[in-house]
């Protein structure tokens, strides 16, 4: 193979690999990126049932209820304007408490319940999930002051 041909072949291969990777990435992104919703967002533009979304807000005070099986927990996430019922089966994060911030990955069921697969709570008093910044937390008396440093 001549030198020029070799460079050309290599450049073409590189191009094909890059385009392939780009297409694969674009396809996967379109399919798999999950959008972040607050309860108000869900009221405004309801996502389809079963679509993977990420829900964030504050756990409403007095809303945490455990099922009789001892491992399923039901609670309400609110952002000051709207409320969303959530159910989760599993061990709740260490700092999952009423009046505190939470981010849940999961999807809506047909009857409007949000079923969470994973729960993220704030990990310490200095840390707030990025998506929760700027959410009005005045409706939750325990949550003032200490959440955002």
């Amino acid at each position: 193979m001549k030198a020029k041909h070799q460079r050309l072949t290599l450049a073409l291969l590189a191009l094909v690999a890059l385009i392939g990777a780009g297409l694969l990435a674009a396809f996967a992104l379109r399919d798999q990126a999950s959008y972040f919703y607050t309860p108000s967002d869900i009221v405004a533009k309801k996502p389809e049932a079963g679509q993977a979304i990420r829900l964030g807000g504050m756990v409403e005070v007095g809303s945490i209820k455990r099922d009789a099986d001892g491992v399923t927990v039901n609670f309400i996430v609110q952002d000051g304007d709207a409320r969303q019922a959530v159910s989760y089966t599993g061990i709740t994060p260490d700092l999952f408490v009423e009046g505190s911030g939470v981010v849940a990955d999961g999807s809506l069921t047909a009857d409007g319940q949000f079923v969470a697969e994973t729960l993220l709570a704030k990990h310490d008093e200095n840390y707030v999930p990025r998506e929760l910044e700027g959410i009005d937390m005045t409706g939750t008396p325990q949550a003032t002051g200490t959440l955002i440093e």
Binding site: M1, A3, Q6, R7, T9, L10, L13, A14, A17, L18, G20, A21, G22, L24, A25, F27, A28, L29, D31, Q32, A33, S34, Y35, F36, A52, R54, R66, D69, G70, V71, T89, G90, I91, T92, D94, L95, V103, D105, T118, H123, D124, E125, N126, Y127, P129, R130, E131, E149
Partner: protein
Amino acid sequence: MIAEAGLIALWLAAGLALLQLALGGIGLKAGRTDLLQAIRPVAVAQGGLVTLSFLLLIWLFLRSDMSVALVVKNSASVKPFLYKFAGTWGNHEGSMLLWVTVMGLAGAMIALFERNLKTATLVTTLAAQAFISLGFYAFLLISSNPFERMFPVPADGQGLNPLLQDPGLAFHPPTLYFGYVGLSVAFSFAVGAMITRDVGPAFARAMRPWVLGAWIFLTLGITAGSYWAYYELGWGGWWFWDPVENASLMPWLAATALLHSVTVLATRDGLRAWTVMLAVVAFSMSMIGTFLVRSGILTSVHAFAVDPERGSFILALLAIYIGGAMALFALRIGTVKEGSKFELVSREGALVANNLLLSAILGIVFIGTLYPLFVEAITDEKLSVGPPYFNLAAGPITLLLVAIMAAGPLLKWRRDNPKKLLNRLSIPILVTAAAVFLLVLLTTSMSVMSLLAMGLAAGIALASFAPLWKRNLRRTPMHVYGMVIAHFGIAVALVGMASESSFTEEKLVAAQPGTEIEINRWNLKFEAIEPLAGPNWTALEARISARYDGGETVEITPQNRMFASAQTQTSEAALLTRWNGQLYVVLGEGDSEGRWQIRTWWKPFVTLIWYGGILVALGGLLAVVGRLRRSRRQRLQREYAEVMV
């Protein structure tokens, strides 16, 4: 006084870095060899002073000197010794000082030990190294002084984030920093070689040990980080595609590509421009990783503080270094002569494929990590990209990459016969096919990806030893063993990953004392729950007796810890390791009826993931030792020959 001494040492080191840059620049411009001679001792002194500064900071932490703001914010006098020590770099200022210390030490090592490179290239490399360090010195001295005093002096410190109070923390960040900084050395070498138009095998051989060294540390750092997340976060997962994990994975991918292409340059004088480019990209990824973690722009457990000033500073450094290097690359690359040629089916061809596929994976991880930030900046819409994206996009390419990994080492340089390659690979291919067939027959729960991964792993495990076939094992160079072990390690890790994702069993129960839990062949009996107190925490501890397959009873004790200083809880998972897997038990909350949530997993062969990572790093270590010994021997022979003439 110690804090002031540390600050003075830091200022002096910064001054010496400036001198190092000036000596290199003026010396080269004016052709003054006396100035060039002076750069080595200056680099050594700079390394010594910055190390002194870092040691003094450690000393302040160990003494719990509460007149220093950084110690107050990140330590407490009741903290165990190890965490006072590790707390030194468990914060922004300390970790930046660690970074610049490692850079200074690396510069000193180049100055002391590099004997094969042309003087001009060496001097330019040291000057480039000083230039990068200067940015970090400025960063420390202007916006994040670790030695700042605090008035009035508080009675005690605020403690360290309890999640980080773990032996993993003592070693994980410094290991990654060694890797990041090693790549900065490769970057400096590339800049030096571009400026002096010296891109060739000698430059590649000088750069290779640094790339290998950086890559070993990154491999260990990622492996340790993965295990830390696995047992400390209590979620049972070993990789979350968290942006901070990706920040360490991206430099690793670039370094892996670089260490393969640098071999082509060193051995065959090919891929010149590409190798220089990769060195620039690899360091860019280190800087981007540092930026992502340190600026706090990510949603992540690692982003403790949101501080835009620091973020912009690192971003500015990133733009200067990478932009400068890219501009230099664009200007100079036309003058880099094309290297020697090769056919597509050849060792070089396989290494090019390796590089392309690694770059593709790097691109996919890069897009997935930065896309949400990009979208949010433009449309204000918030979006998260998680494991489904990464697994779907990067998974198939990874499998293709490991398939090529089996073939590459069996190919000859320059040109080879495709039919002969198939012959050499016939047994591994058969093994792969047989493994996939058996798994389809015997198991039901495996996804296509896991099936392929497991099958390929079986083939690769065999193929990785093929380069030793019919060789005199005692005369085989050490770096060949290194390659064999590293490739075998990939196969081992792959088995662990496929097994964990396919065969993990999980149980979640609300248990009262006396409740028994059956999982796989384990029988767990919840005996009791008891309070417990540690040095700076209190805990609730569950006593559970575990029996495997009717065997001996072992007691395990998962805990929920409350930390006094930060009002924070962490759950400490209990792990039981057997040769064929790991039992993972987490204690959750109790309820009013006296029941406690207990979550258990049985994860068959999960430990292979990290053993594989360790094998990969071990392979790298053998390679670097072998290469260094060989180049030393060759230099001694050359010097001997010169003396004899």
